[in-house]
């Protein structure tokens, strides 16, 4: 329940942050978000800074450069957009740390199963992809040419497709074996 409330709070906060155009209010929101993040606030703060730095720097410098061409540049806008983007990323990272998303999504059984399965598969596929990358890295003595690089990327993608097909079949069989697809299986088969 707490996770669901936090997820709802996050959604409301995000809409509010995009509806408020006063940097002071947004700074106040940042302090509240830091309080919600608790002891993790400094770590989240640094991570959020790293995430927004490049894009915001490009946008801010590009916007400020308009002054060189005689266009009006507003310092208020630069403060507003940077505080807003930073606050939104801070909120998202806080959510990722503080909320068990699977528990928060349990208002819909289908969505919970889907998210659980997808997340477990993402972890498996990422590990597999990293293994493939490391294997390719360890076997090459020189930088690959463009054609070889494409063939290597394509081979990795094909392997992922194969694995996806295999895993989908395995998971479906495992779910069927547990009575998941029977209409009368009820909540018992679903582990409730």
């Amino acid at each position: 329940m707490q996770d669901r409330l936090l997820l709802l709070g996050y959604a409301v906060a995000v809409i509010a942050v995009t509806a408020v155009h006063n940097p002071w209010w947004l700074t106040g929101g940042l302090l509240v978000a830091a309080a919600v993040a608790g002891r993790r606030a400094p770590a989240i703060g640094w991570r959020a800074l790293g995430a927004v730095l490049y894009f915001n720097l490009v946008i801010s410098v590009g916007y400020a450069a308009r002054a060189l061409f005689g266009q009006t540049v507003s310092i208020d806008y630069l403060i507003l957009v940077n505080v807003r983007v930073y606050l939104l990323i801070f909120l998202t990272f806080t959510l990722a740390v503080r909320v068990d998303v699977l528990r928060a999504l349990n208002f819909s059984q289908g969505l919970t199963y889907l998210a659980t399965l997808a997340l477990s598969q993402i972890i498996t596929f990422r590990r597999l992809f990293e293994d493939l990358r490391l294997a390719a890295e360890s076997r090459r003595l020189r930088r690959l040419g463009l054609r070889e690089s494409y063939l290597q990327s394509a081979a990795a993608a094909v392997h992922l497709f194969d694995r996806a097909e295999h895993d989908a079949r395995e998971i479906a069989l495992a779910m069927r074996a547990r009575g998941f697809f029977r209409p009368d299986a009820g909540d018992d088969a679903r582990g409730h």
Binding site: H21, Y77, F93, Q121, F129, Y150, L160
Partner: protein, 209 residues
């Protein structure tokens, strides 16, 4: 190509959610028709596949590389609606679990990349593959990159016009279409060539099996 959080106005992302909700409802119907009881595991695995395909490197001349999107490949193999559902789930999980992307930009990214990109890819493939299989696959990969970039450039470029202060200062993304269109579309026209080549290789490898 993702739009970052904080640069889209509520006037943009709220209607985008309404449109995307219709798309998600339709995609669910299509999935239920096509995928019987294996719907859940298949969609979950496809979501994971979409997530990881976005990690596959797209080699560029000069030894550098960028991440592929994999949308063209998914669209040719599974069709636009399944791709839309899988890409939307990828974006949702990226936002909520991995803290990447964001919840305000999710519908725009999902519609641009997952629906428009994959629909353009499928259409190009269907039109061209009877004439030349390779041309169809290349066009699918290229359009799956360029069409979302074009749409995202349009959405970003209209922000100063639809959300600004009384004295005309922007409140969200500051640059108009004259900046966003060339800045986003031109690089993706080039990147699309790589995506097109990768689509040819992957789909032809898959067909040979």
């Amino acid at each position: 190509m993702h739009v970052p959080d904080g640069f889209l106005s509520p006037q943009t992302y709220l209607p985008a959610y309404a449109i995307a909700a219709g798309g998600w409802a339709w995609a669910t119907r299509v999935l239920q028709r096509r995928l019987d009881e294996t719907l859940l595991p298949r969609l979950a695995v496809l979501t994971a596949l979409g997530f990881v395909l976005m990690s596959v490197m797209l080699p560029l001349p000069g030894g550098t590389s960028v991440h592929a999107s994999g949308i063209g490949i998914l669209a040719v193999v599974f069709g636009p609606w399944i791709t839309f559902a899988a890409v939307s789930l990828v974006l949702l999980l990226q936002a909520l679990v991995f803290g990447a992307g964001g919840i305000t930009v999710l519908p725009v990214n999902a519609l641009a990349m997952g629906l428009a990109g994959s629909a353009a890819a499928c259409l190009a493939y269907r039109l061209l593959h009877p004439i030349d299989e390779r041309a169809g696959l290349f066009a699918a990969g290229w359009l799956a990159t360029v069409v979302p970039a074009l749409l995202i450039a349009l959405v970003l470029g209209i922000q100063p016009a639809i959300a600004h202060t009384a004295d005309g200062q922007p409140l969200f993304f500051p640059f108009g279409l004259s900046v966003t269109l060339p800045a986003l579309v031109v690089p993706h026209v080039v990147l699309g060539v790589g995506e097109g080549l990768l689509t040819i290789l992957v789909v032809r490898f898959l067909r040979r099996r």
